[in-house]
């Protein structure tokens, strides 16, 4: 790819920007794009893809995906398999009704959709409590309900690890774009030394807060980051606030990697940690 290609709604994706299609490996579309016509044969040039949002076109030849990176401050739209942090609004006989983003319809989380949950052992969640959950389905058409789960139905385990109620800690709001970056950065292989997705803020914090006991973090695609520093003893509050401020300022200022390092040092100094 040479120059970054920015598309506006209604514009076609130039066919030379599409990854070469291989047989048995269909092209996967990310958000912001729609398919207007499909090739009748297996010829690669037949796809007509148009943008429905404005954004930066990105392709991944390895995974054969093409998607449009849009602005980072948008509202989160539930998408199957996303990990999110939901807040319990109320519970009914079979479900917890959860808030994923403010002022939208509640998502449903089965009372038994937790690891090892039975009628007797299911968690009794109250209003305002948080769960780390996976989007199971988003339904189709008008009135579709979003369903969440904290368990992998195939194995009965909380997969990926950490799904379930989030106890204690603090949750910070970040932009949905930032949340997606944090997730991609954390899922990158640990031996990768370079900054993943232009983010070093978490690894910096990790290094500097190790001495006080480290921290636990869960990132929800809906723009929520849960942070828990209960191992940090006396400086737990300061450390949590510091992490929150670092994340939010990195997000709001679109800081470069060197700026992120400076920010972490400055804020930890201000909060008198490390």
């Amino acid at each position: 790819m040479t120059t970054p290609l920015v598309l506006l709604p209604g514009e076609e994706v130039p066919s030379d920007h599409l990854p070469p299609t291989k047989n048995n490996n269909p092209l996967k579309l990310g958000p912001g794009l729609r398919l207007l016509s499909q090739p009748s044969t297996s010829a690669a040039a037949g796809h007509v893809l148009t943008a429905t949002q404005a954004g930066l076109l990105t392709t991944d030849a390895k995974r054969n995906t093409v998607s449009l990176l849009s602005f980072s401050n948008r509202r989160y739209l539930p998408t199957t398999n996303d990990l999110i942090i939901a807040q319990i609004h109320h519970s009914s006989a079979d479900y917890f009704h959860c808030m994923v983003t403010p002022h939208t319809a509640h998502a449903l989380l089965g009372q038994l959709s937790f690891e090892g949950a039975t009628k007797k052992t299911r968690p009794m969640l109250k209003q305002g409590e948080l769960v780390y959950a996976r989007v199971l389905s988003v339904g189709i058409g008008a009135g579709a309900e979003v369903e969440l789960t904290c368990v992998n139905p195939a194995t009965g385990k909380a997969e990926p690890g950490g799904l379930g109620p989030l106890v204690g800690g603090m949750v910070f709001d970040v932009s949905t774009g930032m949340a997606a970056r944090l997730i991609r950065a954390s899922s990158a292989s640990p031996d990768q030394t370079d900054a993943v997705e232009g983010l070093v803020v978490l690894s910096e914090l990790d290094k500097k807060l190790e001495s006080v006991g480290g921290f636990e973090i869960a990132v929800g695609r809906n723009g929520k980051v849960w942070v828990d520093c209960s191992n940090a003893g006396d400086s737990a509050i300061q450390a949590t606030v510091a992490i929150g401020r670092c994340l939010q300022q990195t997000d709001e200022g679109n800081l470069s990697t060197s700026e992120q390092k400076k920010l972490v040092s400055r804020i930890l100094r201000e909060m008198k940690i490390g």
Binding site: H103, G128, V171, I237, T240
Partner: protein, 301 residues
């Protein structure tokens, strides 16, 4: 839809735990305002204000109208605050909500009822015509403490605003355009501002200039309207847990200090803006050919 999304248990507990240790989420001290920036737009009385992430625009306008029958010597002054979905997704367009009524009430009490703007000076002909000054508050982003932000904005706007000059000729009111005669500043008698405190922990912890989340976690609030000289023009504690009377006295002192600071800051920006306008006016006079008003730039953005 008219309510902000409720806080999670984790957020509420953490905010309280942190305040126990005198820590706020943005690292501020308990009696500290967020960074405040005030700037003026092209027109007189056009204020852009930002207090942390809360931001708003105030527009002051004037028109000639008839005074009220029961107050023939008084001009009219209104503050219009209408919350739209721009400031928060929780607010519904075209419907008033509790916050709107609450903030409007405090603005009325602190600015209008304290007679900060001398309405008698707005009278043109007794019982026949007077100026109607209107302050429109547009909330662009809401992140707590709307009251104080709106109060600072309206006061700054009133000080910046210049109404057209009007004279009475043969019983007729003649209003001169801004080009014909130098417009007139409003008569400001005092500069009261509100300061809002929120209490936590049965009144043991009290903070100034709460963010939206701090407001949601708080137990009660105390609003003090006070001017530079320390005259309290408004004091309210509408709801929440009781707090000690001595506390109100202590916080009034804090409020007075803050009001002095803010008024000084607004004054500095105001003087700089007026000086720039004056300089530009002179430059324009020197270039008589320069026939059209240029829009001044804004050095504070």
């Amino acid at each position: 839809m008219s309510k902000e999304a409720p806080l999670s248990v984790a957020e509420r507990d953490f905010i309280l735990d942190a305040l126990h240790q005198n820590v706020r989420l943005d690292g501020r001290g308990l009696d500290q305002f967020r960074p405040l920036s005030v700037s003026f737009g092209n027109e007189y009385g056009h204020v852009k204000l930002r207090l942390g992430k809360t931001s708003l625009v105030v527009r002051i306008s004037a028109e000639v109208t008839k005074p009220r029958d029961d107050r023939p010597f008084d001009g009219l002054f209104n503050i219009a605050l209408e919350l739209s979905a721009m400031g928060s997704p929780a607010w519904e367009n075209g419907r008033s909500n509790d916050l709107e009524a609450y903030v409007s009430h405090i603005l009325d009490r602190v600015i209008r009822h304290s007679n900060a703007l001398d309405t008698e000076s707005l009278c043109i002909i007794q019982g026949v015509s007077c100026w109607n000054i209107r302050a429109d508050v547009h909330v662009l982003d809401f992140d707590g403490n709307l009251t104080d932000a709106a109060c600072i904005g309206v006061m700054a706007g009133l000080q910046h605003f210049r109404r057209p000059d009007a004279v009475v000729k043969d019983g007729q009111v003649v209003v001169y355009g801004v080009e014909e005669r130098v417009p007139v500043a409003l008569n400001i008698t005092q500069k009261p501002l509100s300061t809002t405190f929120h209490s936590f922990d049965e009144g043991k912890t009290v903070i100034l200039d709460a963010t939206r989340k701090e407001e949601q976690a708080s137990e009660g609030e105390l609003v003090i309207g006070i001017n530079n000289a320390g005259d309290v023009c408004f004091l309210s504690k509408f709801a929440g847990d009781p707090i000690d009377a001595l506390f109100v006295v202590n916080k009034s002192n804090v409020a007075q200090e803050k009001v002095k600071e803010i008024n000084a800051m607004v004054d500095k920006v105001l003087q700089a803006d007026l000086a720039r306008r004056a300089k530009k006016g002179m430059a324009e006079e020197a270039q008589a050919e320069n026939d059209r008003e240029v829009s001044p730039n804004d050095p504070f953005v």
